[in-house]
Amino acid sequence: MLKKGQVQDNLEMVIAFIIILIGVFLLYYGNLSHELSLEDSTSPMVIEKSDLEAMDVNFMSMDLLNLLRLEIDEYTVGEILASLPPEPTDEYYANDFAPDTDNPLTNYAYKEAGSIAFHCHDSFYESLNEVLGKVYGDSWVLIRGEYFKASTFICSSPGATTGFGNSAIASSTIMIPSKDPGLFYSVTLEVWG
């Protein structure tokens, strides 16, 4: 049988051992959380299901800005998208042609950029694809809509397999003004697999 002093010694050793265990656990936990953080940092570097580089994905908004500054004829893409009305008019739907307005930019936007249901014309698509195709291949989609509302103008390349069950690999959205005071449009560039 152990003496009182020996019991106390054993108890103290157990307590010391438990304290050391807590310390080791804290050390392990600290290291583990740092390792997980590093693992997280590597995940954005690899874009699954595409050939996109992380740099292009992280700086998509700069590509989108440069695209909006691109001049087609005498207008920039941003001007054209800002000048398209929020929704196609009934006349537009009925005839597949744009009504003439007093504003030459709006007329241009109607006739050159958008066709029925505001899907873009081939010539407008080609102009955009010259810039976007070099970076995003044939899987980009450009969407213009009212802020927080459904999109009303879509220009997409044939390789973009949008739809149910699929999701965009990367996207970037910019707010632009519209012809109506207080109404803002969102322009979104998406890349799909």
Binding site: A16, I19, G23, L27, G30, T76, G78, P177, P181
Partner: protein, 151 residues
């Protein structure tokens, strides 16, 4: 076991735990610009703020471009500023926040705008990035005299 030895053991054990807590508790203070959650986090946050600021400047630039093209050549400055103000409705900025300089060239007008308003961005909870937006746009500008001369 010797009681003095146990006291020493206790002290060592507690010091071990405390030193770990102190180390991890002060890592962020020892790292320049505070600790990152992941590698390159601060840099990406900073560039994201730059992009955010660039987007807002582009909004102003595009508003100015649209307004300038809508303004008539006879009363250009007044109409431009009025229309530019309309485009800014709902943004928190107004035409009064800007000083404009108009430079008329050969068949074009350059508008240089500098703002007195300060836009502030917070890349993270420790950093602040401020911007006084300024931009310039150049639009076609032909007075009636020039149009007549050309025609």
């Amino acid at each position: 076991m010797n009681k003095k030895a146990f006291v020493f053991l206790y002290l060592c054990s507690i010091a071990f735990v405390i030193s770990i807590a102190i180390f991890y508790g002060t890592v962020d203070k020892q790292t320049p610009g505070q600790e990152s959650l992941y590698f390159g986090e601060k840099e990406i946050n900073l560039f994201t703020s730059y992009q955010e600021a660039e987007e807002e400047v582009y909004f102003l630039e595009l508003s100015a471009r649209l307004a300038a093209k809508e303004a008539s050549t006879e009363n250009f400055e007044k109409e431009f500023e009025e229309k530019f103000g309309n485009y800014l409705l709902g943004t928190g900025l107004g035409v009064k926040d800007f000083d404009f300089v108009y430079e008329e060239g050969d068949s074009e007008m350059k508008i240089v705008a500098k703002s007195s308003a300060i836009l502030t961005y917070y890349p993270d909870s420790f950093s602040k990035y401020t911007l006084t937006p300024s931009f310039s746009v150049t639009v076609p500008f032909e007075t009636e005299e020039e149009e007549g001369f050309i025609g």
